[in-house]
Amino acid sequence: MSKHMQNRPLSPHLTIYRPQLNSVLSILHRITGIALSITLLILIGFFISLIFGEKIFIVFSTYFNSVVGKLIMFFSLCGIWYHFFAGIRHLFWDMGYGFNLKWVELSSYSILALTFIFVLTSLLI
């Protein structure tokens, strides 16, 4: 590819679009996916702290139960359940279902509702 070709603007020009529910949810799937890598590292840290004995585990769980730790866990839960349900919709799309606008809209609201319910349930268990 020549230099000229490489610098051509990419379509779609996201910045000139009015944000729509579908476009916001689409980018949110990616953002939560990236953010969840931090959650994954924390989970790995949790299990590694377990094998280093009680002292290290207590350090880890104090951090877990601090305000910052709880906030991270809260956002992690939001991310996990959102990514979970949006991911399931992607699998349906992969099989060729749910493409018409009515279904896309309905599933978008369902994803948000289910995420809300699951985050709430997770916090209550």
Binding site: Q6, R30, G33, I34, L36, S37, L40, L43, I44, F46, F47, I48, L50, I51, E54, F57, I58, S61, F64, N65, I80, F84, G87, I88, H90, L91, D94, S122, I125
Partner: protein
Amino acid sequence: MGQNIASTRHWIKQRVSSILLIPLTLLFFYNFLNVSTLSYDDVISNYKNPFHLCVAFLFITISIWHFYQGIEVVLEDYIHETNLRNSTLKTLKILCWFLTLIITLAFIFLYRF
């Protein structure tokens, strides 16, 4: 042609990890959310249960690979410089193998506690 086959394989692998993670996420968090607030001994005894141990192990390892498959697509979209992209992916792949190794060892220790 080779690139097409590689892309198809990548696509299939990503679907496989996604589908596996559906039941694993539910099973893992149903247990983990109760466990994470317990004392050290109770957490250890919870993971004495081979079922919980296996679910946690599979959830973490498959998540690591799901992460790698996802980040591969993201980097392909945003890093247009091929060399930079490939070296970033290579580094991440090594990191993923390293994490898989560490977590496997951790779970072996946990099982033998």
